[in-house]
């Protein structure tokens, strides 16, 4: 950056110095002509050298500054060119006229003043050419390819090469160089065909650019005219038309300006098509980006309505949203509710509803003719995904054949993009909703966990160890206990059919029933009967609950239990050194919902010995499956107890769970699993 600023100021200084020196040199030459006695010092080489230096520095300066121009503000470029360089031509005219006025007024011919004006105009010309040359380069290379870039680089090199002619004081009009110059001119013509930027101007921009281009053309003409007139003036010691470079640069600038002017002029009628297409594109973009911008469905429909009307140039339109399969008009354009109702009735009569429909000649249809509508073409575009109809768009035009294939294609693209956007918006909001459900499920999990007791009363006569995991966030397994009296404790285990939220609710209900009924201290079979009756009223038809209730009496050294469809209790009797399942009958709760249930539940009493072990579990344990789809099964559970009954309750539980996990493999949990191990301990001697 610093380098560039330095280079710029250096170039400006060089330009000014060379120009001043040139001026001085010329003025000296003029003086020399005035005084015939003086020695004629002809120094064309010095002049040419200074000219070349001046031209190069001005061009290089413009080359450096033009690189700052970026973007596609083409009008800005043209305005920049006109205001900073094109005006120079008018200044030069003013100067020349001023000189003429002074000489006419004073009647004195002043060669020095003439040369001074001429010299200033030369400076202005070079600045104008340099500016125009490099701004045209920017535009010419817009959307460039490699070939064009190379072509331009060569052109620039060749044009600058012609400065050598001036430097060596060759006459470029000599026969040797003329063909070369002619070739260069063709080169210029070829370059002038590159004006892609014109296509990006809108109609308004084109009209403005025509004015600016006209003004620049005029600048070119003024300069050409001025230097042409002065070319053969005998009163001048120097003639800048001899500089071939300037001629070529002027040729390029003039031709390119002319070409741009003509192209703009002739593309004026078609520019609206291009504008429409680019606006369609922009609207597609807006539609597809509306998800990221967090826009609502209503805004998407707004966009659709506006875009399709613009794209089809419709004279009237309406959009109806389908809410609860009832159409509801949300957008209107140049049509009243009464006309909509009439059209809709007619469409209903023709059974044209919610389908793609185009009628490009409404007058030919007697039904529409009778409606005496001011329109002649109609298109219906349903906003419809595979499953869901969101709405219908109706567009009307007051001419026949209003919706040609091209327009219909664009409209269809709009509607399908809208469908996609709406679907995506719904997906986004659904996923947000899912997030919320997940949060609520987390709370449900915590609530449920608090329903299951973490600690059992520790006592000297028994120890208990528990294990419970749910397959989903909330489960249907449960267990609980209630101290009935000092020596009696009730323990319940249960499993609600199904999983998830509904099971969790019934589980909570069952806990309530357990605590409510057992306050009255009743035998297990009575509890089951009453629980069945209570659940019959609130359980849905396909749900049922299996449960087992144990009331352990420490003083009597025995327990009473009833099973309601729950898994058989696994038991180790230390006296007989036997492991077995209690085979008792008992029907699940909620299966029979009348008094006849009472015949389906049995009660059992069992005396326990010290060191006996009782294993209570849910079907999630015995029905757990291995990766080979085999069930864990009652036999394996029984075998595990025969191996571990001598351990503490906690260790027995851990051994069984470890074996189970080894069997199923990690992360292979499909049902809630609950396991309680109770070990009766020998009576303490001091008791």
């Amino acid at each position: 950056m610093l380098y560039r600023t330095n280079a710029k100021s250096l170039l400006v200084t060089t330009a000014i110095i060379s120009w001043v020196l040139l001026l001085l040199n010329i003025l000296i030459s003029v003086e020399a002509i005035d005084q015939p006695n003086a020695v004629k010092v002809s120094i064309p080489f010095v002049n040419n050298f200074l000219i070349v230096i001046f031209i190069i520095s001005v061009f290089l300066y413009q080359r450096l500054s033009s690189e700052n121009l970026k973007g596609i503000d083409f009008i800005g470029y043209l305005w920049h060119l006109f205001s900073k360089a094109g005006v120079a031509a008018y200044v030069s005219v003013a100067l020349y006229l001023g000189y003429k006025l002074i000489t006419n007024y004073t009647n004195i011919e002043s060669p020095s003043l003439l040369h001074f004006v001429y010299q200033i105009n030369f400076g202005l010309l070079v600045i104008f050419l340099a500016k125009a040359f490099y701004i045209w380069r920017q535009l010419l290379l817009y959307h460039k390819n490699k070939f064009l870039q190379i072509a331009w680089d060569w052109f620039e090199l060749l044009v600058f090469g012609t400065l050598l002619l001036t430097l060596l004081n060759f006459n470029y009009t000599s026969y040797i160089f003329l063909p070369l110059l002619a070739l260069l001119s063709f080169y210029v013509l070829f370059l002038c065909t590159n004006m892609k930027w014109v296509a990006y101007l809108t109609f308004n921009n084109k009209s403005r650019s025509l004015v600016l281009l006209g003004a620049i053309l005029l600048s070119c003409y003024i300069f050409v005219n001025f230097f042409q007139q002065m070319a053969d003036s005998p009163s001048l010691v120097i003639d800048y038309t001899d500089v071939g470079f300037l001629l070529l640069a002027m040729l390029f600038v003039g031709l390119y300006t002319l070409a741009a002017f003509l192209v703009s002029l002739f593309s004026l009628p078609t520019s609206s098509v291009f504008e429409q297409k680019s606006e369609d594109l922009l609207n597609f973009q807006r539609l597809s980006q509306s998800i990221q911008q967090g826009q609502s469905e209503a805004q998407v429909y707004d966009m659709l309505f506006e875009s399709t009307i613009k794209a089809s140039d419709a004279s009237a339109a309406w959009f109806e949203l389908i809410r609860n399969s009832e159409p509801q008009v949300t957008h209107l354009l140049s049509i009243n509710a009464e006309q909509i109702t009439r059209i809709r009735h007619l469409l209903l009569a023709y059974n044209i509803q919610n389908i793609d429909y185009i009628n490009n000649n409404l007058d030919r249809n007697p039904g529409f003719r009778d409606l005496t509508l001011p329109w002649k073409s109609l298109i219906i575009l349903p906003i419809k995904s595979k499953k869901h109809l969101s709405g219908n768009l109706y567009l009307l035009k007051d001419i026949e054949q209003g919706f040609d294939r091209e327009t219909v294609n664009v409209l269809r693209t709009f509607t399908s993009q809208t469908i996609l956007t709406i679907e995506n918006l719904r997906l986004v909001s659904e996923s947000l909703l899912n997030e919320r459900y997940k949060e609520e499920l987390k709370i449900a999990t915590q609530v449920q966990e608090s329903l299951i007791p973490k600690t059992f009363p520790t006592d000297s006569w028994f120890e208990i160890s528990t294990h419970a995991v749910a397959a989903k966030e909330v489960g249907g397994d449960f267990y609980d206990f209630l101290q009935l009296s000092e020596s009696r404790i009730a323990i319940i285990i249960g499993d609600v059919s199904g999983k998830g939220i509904s099971a969790a609710f019934h589980m909570a209900q069952m806990k309530g029933i357990f605590h409510g009924l057992m306050q009255q201290d009743m035998p297990p079979s009575e509890f089951m009967k009453q629980a069945n009756s209570a659940l019959s009223r609130c359980l849905e038809k396909t749900s049922f609950i299996t449960s087992a209730l144990y009331i352990i009496d420490y003083r009597m050294k025995g327990f009473m239990f009833a099973r309601a469809g729950h898994c058989h209790t696994l038991y180790y009797n230390s006296m007989m050194e036997d492991v077995f399942y209690f085979q008792t009958d008992g029907l699940g709760l909620g299966i029979i919902r009348d008094k006849s249930y009472n015949n389906h539940v049995r009660e059992m009493y069992y005396d326990y010995n010290p060191n006996d072990v009782m294993v209570i579990y849910t079907d999630g344990i015995v029905e757990a499956r291995s990766l080979e789809n085999e069930e864990y099964g009652e036999d394996r559970l029984k075998y595990m107890l025969t191996q571990t009954y001598h351990l503490e309750a906690e260790d027995i539980k851990c051994a069984i769970i470890n074996d189970l996990e080894e069997f199923t493999g990690p992360g292979n949990l499909y049902d809630d699993q609950t396991l309680l191990v109770i070990k009766f301990k020998p009576t303490q001697p001091n008791e």
Binding site: G498, K499, K541, F544, G588, I591, H600
Partner: protein
């Protein structure tokens, strides 16, 4: 889960093939809820290829049990695998429902 129905005079023979879990029990429920089925007096359920029954599957049979009983339609299961039968037994359903060993027996029981 594949459920096929075969009709022989006044009998519907329903064959269950596969695992009756939460998702397939919905299909079973649809089949059993079909009003057409009430025209027949016997429903024989062939459980030979029924590998597994979940509580949801049991729930479907339980929910229709009372309805069939009221309409005096006999619901008979036969050819049941041991582990499936065990599930019925644990829940106490073997005392509520008729579970027999094979088709012949099922026919005999249904004609009683």
């Amino acid at each position: 889960m594949k459920i096929t129905q075969e009709i022989k005079e006044s009998t519907v023979i329903m064959t269950l093939d596969g695992e009756l879990d939460a998702s397939s029990s919905v299909i079973l429920d649809e089949e059993l809820s079909d009003p057409e089925i009430m025209k027949y007096s016997k429903i024989l359920v062939d459980c030979e290829k029924l590998n597994y029954i979940s509580s949801a599957g049991l729930g479907v049979f339980i929910s229709h049990l009372q309805r069939f009983e009221d309409a005096q339609i006999k619901l008979i299961f036969y050819n049941m695998q041991d582990k499936v039968r065990n599930v019925f037994e644990i829940l106490g359903l073997d005392l509520l429902m008729t579970i027999v060993s094979d088709y012949e027996e099922a026919r005999t029981v249904s004609n009683e």
